[in-house]
Amino acid sequence: MQLPTRLLRVVGLALSAASLCQLATLASDQTQPLTLTSFSERTAYTFTLSAHCPPALRLDAEGLCRLSSPYQRYGSLYNQGVGGLKTGLPRVRDGFTPEQIDLGRYLFFDPILSGNNRIACSSCHDPALGFSDGKQQSVGAAGTRLQRSAPSLWNVAFFNKLLWDGSKRSLEEQMLGPLYAPQEMASSPLGLIDKLSNNAHYPALFAQAFADATVTLDRIYRALVAFESSLISLNSRYDWYAHGVHSALTDNELAGLNVFRSFVARCAECHTPPLFSNQQIAVIGVPETAGKPLDPGAQAATGDASQRGGFRVPSLRNAVLTAPYMHAGNFSTLRETVAFYTGGRGHAVPQGEDLKLHWHIWEPQLSDKELDRLVDFLGALTDQAFMPEIPARLPSGLSPGRALRSEQDPDGKYSYLATEDPRRLHNDNTHEAQP
């Protein structure tokens, strides 16, 4: 019997994680660049970009992919996309062509975007880990551990503040950081254009997605934004409930929803539906992991001392998939994370720090049972129905960037599997998108 492809994919994920448990050694010197020349002969394959929008989007009369969601039938005050169950979404980033989105998909997974060709966007934003990487703090191309964790990219199309400190206002602006920061992907604008222009396939793909085969920075950014904006997750069981299917949640999940939106727990005051974030900066006083100094958060970006320790409220959709939690993996489980909020206002603020804690941080005295129900409810926010395909082949000949699972890399030391390692995760859960 032939199993459905998507089921196979899920099984594949589980198997690949298990089979790699034995992976003891990783390539010893990750700082050495991978040369692209060894792949230059792999040009026989022809890449064709999809002419269809990803499933969350619909082709409009102008040939652009537009979001289509039941939520678009609901209003929200001043179109801010915050409210209750039947509330409209914040403004979405859409209007890209199917070809631009598909080109973005190749670029997103392609380590050619990093200076040493070792990591891709997907190395820290791995689809199998909720488009995060399972690490407390992400690790850059040269093995440098960064300050904060990789935020999930699900529904990033709706966010008007990006990064943990909320300092970037568009995906274009945001991606300049990881692409070019020496401790992250360590690429350079000229290097990017040079590598992609001289690649055997990319110029032709740019010609499919844009007016001609010229590789420009703006086109690279636009394609990446197009792909990232297609990662829509609005089809969870919670959403069914919101649209009126009251059997969609279990009794425990429903009890959890009522704790979540109660004015005792007050979760929904900042993690406001339908995005489960109100996109504001909040100072909540999370304890740093052992030995780390207090992260000033938004203060470092704005200079406003009252925002010290403030971070952008993250969405909770697919939170089950994105452990560990908070800005630097401060908590390893959702249960620990929800328990933080009932630990007392400011209980983890270091001595000598005068943080302007958010007024919703108080002492709700939630019972263990209520905390359990909250975790139950968060599970009902999981939806990966519109998971994109991971390309089986990349124009660079490199393998798609993937995050290491914790069992493969218990110390969180490495950012990726060495591309040349024969035991490397290879084509585990991938297949070509059908034309």
């Binding site: 915050v82 409210g83 939106r261 704005t302």
Partner: protein, 506 residues
């Protein structure tokens, strides 16, 4: 399904019998088929009545209710959290010889009533001893909260949030540790004729536009009536509020708010405070016996323990204080205000205090008959035009001079705000397809279920057959998993979705 529909129509006929007819729905199947055909007029909806007696669960009645239904609750104690995620539900208490239906939280339960549906009404309930709220709305439009008696329900008493077009009227609230009536991030709300006392804040209008607060009595709170722009919220503005004909007296209760909350910064003895709110008209109120100040107008830096928000305008602009009767305020001001007043060689607090940036001329604020009051910080305020009310104006406020707020009778909308619904038509069907079906069926790619092209090949133009299958799927293709039934969609919507899928071309 059909039976229910018939019964719903029928119940309108007998609605005058409501209180005496128990369980209409079970009594009607016999008559339904006969009368139903006669009554199937379009747009005839409303109201089954669900009766709840002591020992019953109100939530069970909500579960059984559909849009338009009314839930009638008889005197007794009900220990539960009632949540209403449906449109057009009415909860109505019945009071018998002074005995109220009492929602009792025992300081164990979080909220008494949570609603997200549009068109929600709740009236005639006594609500006591919850931890969070008595009545909290999240994004329901066209709400009505009237005639409730609320004692110590935790943080707030009545708290509609993210709602458009609502009425809060004739409620009595006491013992609330933040705001008794808190209108947060709403538009077009009237707050009328309520009595609020022994709370930290009586009535708070926060990040809300188009509010009328009229005829309320706010006494013995820490602060009586508040208009705020709180920083850090997703809706950033608060403007166009009329605070009129309220009685705001003796708000001298020591502040017992939760540390860290914004209202914990309100000095005891405050009649009214406008913090950063714009276009606020304060007119024809009686403000007396408030020991710190009658009215404080200030910018956001009044509250220093809150993180800044560059997208939030911190200053109160164009505040108008007109023709209020103010006396006996400022008898025992808090230290900061006393220190201010000492610069004017007084130890009494003022009737009106413009504080920090609120004092600047560029704010464009005005006060009528300024010299009638003891004030601080109003030197650069303009004079509001003062208008004498004659008898003719008093009886017909529509003829009152336009420079005052007196001609404005309500800030609610003339027509209900747009309900948030998915329409049963091709547009709605497309959204249902994209939101639900497309997770398994894309146009031409094999996913969890067969592609739409394969479904089109099988059904052709027979939308009804596909609609029937959607309601009760049977396993047809050995190489695909079974499809879950979609009978949560109405019959009409299933047909629309089937039509949409069979016509999907790109």
């Amino acid at each position: 399904m059909k039976n229910l529909l018939l019964l719903t129509h029928l119940s309108t006929l007998v609605s005058f019998l409501k209180p005496s007819v128990a369980c209409l729905r079970t009594a009607l199947p016999l008559l339904g088929p006969l009368l139903g055909t006669l009554l199937m007029a379009p747009n005839m909806t409303v109201a089954a009545v669900h009766q709840v007696h002591p020992g019953d669960s109100i939530q069970a009645a909500v579960k059984a209710a559909v849009a338009g239904d009314e839930i009638v609750v008889y005197p007794g104690t009900y220990k539960e959290t009632v949540y209403i995620d449906k449109d057009d539900i009415t909860l109505r208490g019945v009071i018998v010889e002074g005995e109220w239906p009492n929602l009792e939280g025992s300081k164990q339960l979080n909220d008494a009533i949570l609603y997200s549906g549009n068109g929600f009404s709740v009236e005639w309930f006594k609500i006591t001893n919850y931890k969070g709220n008595a009545i909290m709305g999240q994004a329901g439009n066209n709400f009505s909260i009237r005639n409730n008696w609320i004692i110590d329900t935790g943080v707030y008493g009545i708290f509609p949030e993210f709602g458009e077009n609502g009425l809060i009227e004739n409620n009595v609230l006491s013992g609330i540790e933040d705001a008794a009536i808190y209108v947060g991030m709403c538009d077009h709300v009237d707050v009328r004729n309520n009595r609020v006392f022994d709370n930290v804040a009586g009535i708070e209008i926060e990040n809300t536009r188009h509010a009328l607060v009229e005829g309320n009595i706010a006494h013995n709170n820490t602060g009586g009536i508040l208009v705020f722009i709180t920083p850090g919220l997703p809706i950033k503005t608060s403007y166009d509020a009329i605070i009129r004909r309220n009685t705001i007296i003796n708000n001298n209760t020591p502040n017992f708010a939760i540390p860290g909350s914004l209202v914990s910064t309100i000095p005891a003895g405050t009649g009214m405070i406008v913090l950063a709110g714009d276009d606020v008209v304060i007119e024809d109120n009686i403000i007396s016996g408030n020991n710190t100040a009658g009215i404080i107008v200030t910018s956001q830096d009044f509250a220093t323990e809150v993180a800044g928000d560059p997208e939030s305008d911190p200053n109160p602009d164009r505040v108008q204080i007109r023709d209020n009767v103010m006396y006996d305020n400022g008898n025992d001001p808090v230290m900061d205000v006393k220190a201010l007043m000492l610069t004017q060689f007084s130890t009494r607090g003022p009737d009106i205090l413009a504080y920090k940036a609120a004092a600047d001329a560029e704010r464009g604020s005005c006060v009528s008959q300024k010299t009638a009051y003891r004030t601080y910080g109003l030197d650069d305020w303009q004079d509001c035009e003062r208008v004498t009310v004659r008898a003719a104006d008093a009886v017909a406020s529509a003829t009152a001079p336009p420079s005052t707020s007196r001609a404005v009778l309500s800030k609610m909308l003339a027509e209900p705000a747009t309900p948030r619904v998915i329409t049963v038509d091709a547009n709605g069907a497309e959204l249902v397809y994209q939101g639900i079906c497309a997770g398994c069926h894309t146009r031409n790619v094999r996913m969890i279920g067969p592609p739409v092209l394969a479904i089109q090949a099988q059904y052709g133009t027979d939308a009804q057959a596909l609609a029937d299958y959607i309601a009760a799927p049977t396993k047809k293709r050995p190489d695909f998993p079974s499809m879950p039934p979609q009978d949560h969609l109405s019959e009409a919507m299933r047909l629309e979705v089937a039509r949409y899928m069979l016509s999907l071309s790109r």
